[in-house]
């Protein structure tokens, strides 16, 4: 920090504008206050319960995307991996009669394998992640449709929903899980060797490799973790819904990119903010919730979401400009 940042509210403000997650924090806070004042049902415990559960769900979906975005890639097959996990778990429990906890392990293994599949082609053959994951999303989606034949699996045992539907003192269990995950992410990217290597790879892969980082392995790791988070998100989805729907994951792509970008993770890679995730995950949940409460036709939902993402990116552009100017002093 330069001299003029020390002390004073102006200095604190200026330091705040430099945070890549500043826009998300401000926007979420403003929206939260507006909804609290403007609608009657927003602050009811029931509604808050749902908003925060949705926020947690968003965060897990977005982490799957963010882990590849920070190494400068993307995962278009995120939703298909989620869908496949759901189908593997549902099929194992309902058709094959496998114990639920084993089914969950199978589901997570599915995510890991799908991630490895993507990562192998991206790192080994140096293929573009856009092309590889576009192709694999079709592969995985085909498996989803083929295995499930489009049928939902509804015989999910009750204990499976304890995580997604339960609470401790009114706070959804999923929120605790989200906080745990975000703390792990924060610590991993600040203190762990692997986390720092992932960030370096995303910052400049050439320079990272020429500094002794095995960037191929980092790409493989990031893609594998991406698959793992997609299937964690899928498990939570089943737990929250109480059924295993093959259609799960259909809207994950837009949600995952929106939360990642609004949360201050640069699409060019190299940065991440755990706090930004919390706020942008909440922001997406608030938006959907608010649109319903304002009585907006749900069929137009994605139009609004798209506009909000565009707006967020514009605000971020403005913020970066302001922060850049003050830095040059």
């Amino acid at each position: 920090m330069s001299e003029q940042d020390k002390g004073g509210i102006a200095g604190l403000l200026r330091a705040f504008t430099r945070r890549t997650d500043a826009s998300a924090i401000v926007a979420t806070t403003v929206l939260f206050v507006l909804f609290s004042l403007g609608t009657q049902n927003f602050l009811t415990p029931f509604n808050q319960f749902n908003v925060w559960r949705a926020a947690s769900q968003n965060v897990f979906i977005a982490l799957g995307q963010a882990l590849v975005v920070i190494v400068g890639g993307m995962n278009l097959s995120l939703g298909a991996i989620g869908g496949l996990t759901v189908v593997v778990i549902g099929h194992s429990i309902e058709i094959l009669g496998i114990e639920p906890w084993i089914a969950v392990i199978l589901g997570l293994a599915t995510g890991v394998l799908c991630g490895l599949f993507n990562g192998f082609f991206i790192s080994r053959f140096k293929l573009n992640s856009f092309v590889v994951t576009l192709a694999s999303s079709f592969i995985f989606q085909g498996l989803v449709n083929g295995i499930s034949q489009g049928r939902p699996y509804s015989k999910i045992p009750r204990e499976f929903t304890r995580l997604g539907k339960g609470d401790v003192l009114g706070v959804p269990n999923m929120v605790f899980l989200m906080c745990f995950a975000l703390v792990v992410v924060y610590l991993a990217f600040r203190y762990s060797l692997l986390g720092r290597k992932l960030l370096a790879t995303g910052g400049n892969a050439e320079a990272a490799r020429l500094s002794g980082i095995k960037t191929g392995r980092m790409l493989l790791l990031a893609n594998t973790l991406s698959g793992l988070f997609a299937s964690i998100a899928a498990c939570l989805w089943i737990s929250r819904m109480g059924t295993a729907q093959p259609a799960t994951g259909g809207d994950w792509l837009i949600v995952s990119f929106a939360v990642t970008v609004i949360g201050g993770t640069a699409l060019s890679g190299g940065t991440i903010s755990a706090l930004g995730f919390l706020f942008s995950g909440l922001l997406m949940a608030l938006l959907r919730n608010g649109l319903i409460m304002l009585g907006v036709n749900v069929y137009f939902e994605s139009t609004f979401l798209g506009c909000i993402i565009l707006l967020a990116v514009l605000v971020e552009w403005l913020r970066a400009g302001v922060a850049g100017k003050s830095r040059r002093l």
């Binding site: 920090m1 330069s2 600040r190 203190y191 762990s192 060797l193 692997l194 720092r196 290597k197 960030l199 370096a200 910052g203 400049n204 050439e206 320079a207 990272a208 490799r209 020429l210 500094s211 002794g212 980082i213 095995k214 640069a266 060019s268 190299g270 940065t271 830095r327």
Partner: protein
């Protein structure tokens, strides 16, 4: 024709041009000489509207000329050919040549390809570029692309043609073709500005020479009657002699690095050895195989045959990670922005990245940002890196300070063997001197072994105490006695020139 009047230009931290005046006349080839960072390219960019001067003015045919951008320059028939190759790879040769004037060939919304190719062909003939005009330009050699760029400049009807090191990637024969062309243009009344590092070319081809040093105009004078030695003196001034650092302590007999019979897509049996405490210079033109050798040593490029010995034992290096962690060999890239630094990351991150593994200890899991920062701050102090804060992102630093960061990361890693590729490209004079001092001290005081790759002759003479001369991926000569006999820098230059010829 084009007059530059007391032009100055500064960049943050550097006064790149200080009150420089030059007159360009039609029908004259004007050489612009100076060391790296002397202000040549800044001056060229001002002449063609890419930079605007802070003060001073430009007159074209006696009338004041204000260039808003490069398009403005083209309209005024001033063209530049950059040293870097700038083409659209998959477009045809003809299309690349006519790229900036496609609208001249518009027939309604379509392009009149026949006319375009015909005219491009005419300019290709003029520069002696003998390739199919409809083939993609990507398939051409660097030299051919360079000729295509010159053809592009000519096809805009340039009256003032600025050439930035046009021969650096050309063979002798290709260069001769280019010189014949320049003679023709000269007769046609074009004013040509020619930037080069090859003094022989200046003496042979040019009519007038302007020398810049540290952003200042040293002299403009006719070439006739000028000798090579005098030219060198004008360029490097007195500092050259002060720069001579004497001898290194006699390097031990221990050979720390030995390359035996390297064969690869580049080399056909190349060998060299590096002794402890030595600064070994690899001199040659850009593209003569020095960087390729460095990258083959550190495992970045594969080899098909040959042996690498480190401290006398065969070494298996398949990645920079192996080179750094197993053998303590470091490589400072010539291309700091693309290969050396993570621009968006902090100074500390960029310096400490090579020691993360070590900071993480035996578990290789976690390390404290505090320990990392300490390492970074230590280097910032030692190398006098000017940054507002250790956590400042590297992209905000000046070129010289960026270069210091990209060297610092290998110093902090405590490498025994360091390969330094073009350490002072685009670095101002002050930073250059301190980088030289740093390299010298590594060998003279810390007993490290350094391979110095440089195309900057004074730099080579100042630092290296044994020089291998590279040409077309082979070693064509060795100057072995520099650490026992003091040769005048002109003599060293001449000896190298003989090996290159």
């Amino acid at each position: 024709m084009l007059e530059i009047h007391s032009v100055s230009k500064s960049f943050p931290g550097v006064l790149a041009l200080d009150d420089v005046s030059v007159d360009l006349r039609g029908g004259e080839i004007h050489a612009l000489l100076g060391e790296n960072g002397a202000g040549k390219s800044t001056l060229m960019k001002i002449m063609c509207g890419i930079y605007s001067p802070d003060s001073g003015e430009i007159l074209l045919d006696g009338k004041r000329l204000v260039l808003k951008d490069y398009h403005d320059a083209i309209r005024n028939r001033i063209s530049i050919v950059h040293q870097e190759i700038q083409v659209v790879p998959l477009a045809s040769v003809a299309e690349n040549i006519m790229l900036d004037k496609l609208e001249n060939f518009a027939r309604g919304p379509f392009v009149d390809w026949k006319a375009l190719v015909a005219q491009a062909q005419c300019h290709m003939d003029m520069v002696g570029l003998d390739v199919p005009s409809r083939a993609p330009i990507a398939g051409l050699s660097a030299a051919q692309k360079q000729l295509a760029q010159i053809a592009r400049a000519l096809s805009s009807g340039a009256r003032v043609l600025l050439l930035d090191e046009p021969t650096s990637s050309l063979t002798l024969h290709e260069a001769a073709t280019l010189f014949a062309l320049l003679d023709k243009l000269k007769e046609g009344g074009v004013a040509v500005v020619f930037v080069t590092h090859k003094l022989e070319e200046v003496l042979e081809v040019c009519d007038t020479v302007t020398v810049l040093r540290d952003g200042k105009l040293i002299e403009t004078r006719p070439i006739a009657g000028l000798e090579r030695g005098r030219l060198v003196e004008m360029m490097i001034g007195r500092t050259m002699r002060d720069d001579y650092r004497g001898f290194l302590p006699e390097p031990g007999e221990e050979v720390v690095l030995e390359v035996r019979g390297f064969k690869s897509e580049f080399f056909d049996g190349l060998g060299l050895s590096l002794r402890k405490g030595e600064i070994l210079g690899l001199y040659g033109l850009v593209g003569s195989g020095r960087t390729e050798l460095a990258k083959t040593i550190i495992g970045e490029y594969p080899r098909t045959a040959g042996e690498l010995l480190v401290h006398g034992a065969p070494a298996r290096i398949r990645s920079v990670s192996d080179a750094l962690h197993k053998y303590r060999i470091g490589y400072v890239s010539e291309n700091r922005k693309e290969e050396g630094l993570i621009l968006s990351a902090s100074v500390v991150t960029n310096i400490a990245i090579t020691v993360w593994e070590r900071l993480a200890g035996a578990l290789r899991a976690f390390f404290s940002p505090k320990a990392e920062r300490l390492r970074g701050e230590e280097m910032i102090k030692r190398l006098e890196i000017r940054t507002p804060s250790p956590m400042q992102s590297v992209e905000k630093l000046s070129g010289g300070n960026q270069q210091k960061v990209s060297i610092a990361k290998w110093l902090v890693a405590d490498c025994d063997i360091l390969i330094i590729d073009e350490p002072t490209v685009g670095v101002d004079v002050g930073a250059k001197a301190s980088i030289h001092e740093l390299i010298w001290r590594m060998a003279s005081e810390e007993d490290k072994s350094v391979i110095l790759i440089s195309s900057d002759m004074p730099e080579m003479i100042s630092l290296a105490r044994r020089i291998l001369v590279f040409k077309e991926f082979r070693i064509v000569g060795e100057l072995a006695d520099l650490n026992s006999t003091h040769h005048a820098s002109e003599d060293v230059g001449r000896m190298i020139g003989e090996y290159l010829a």
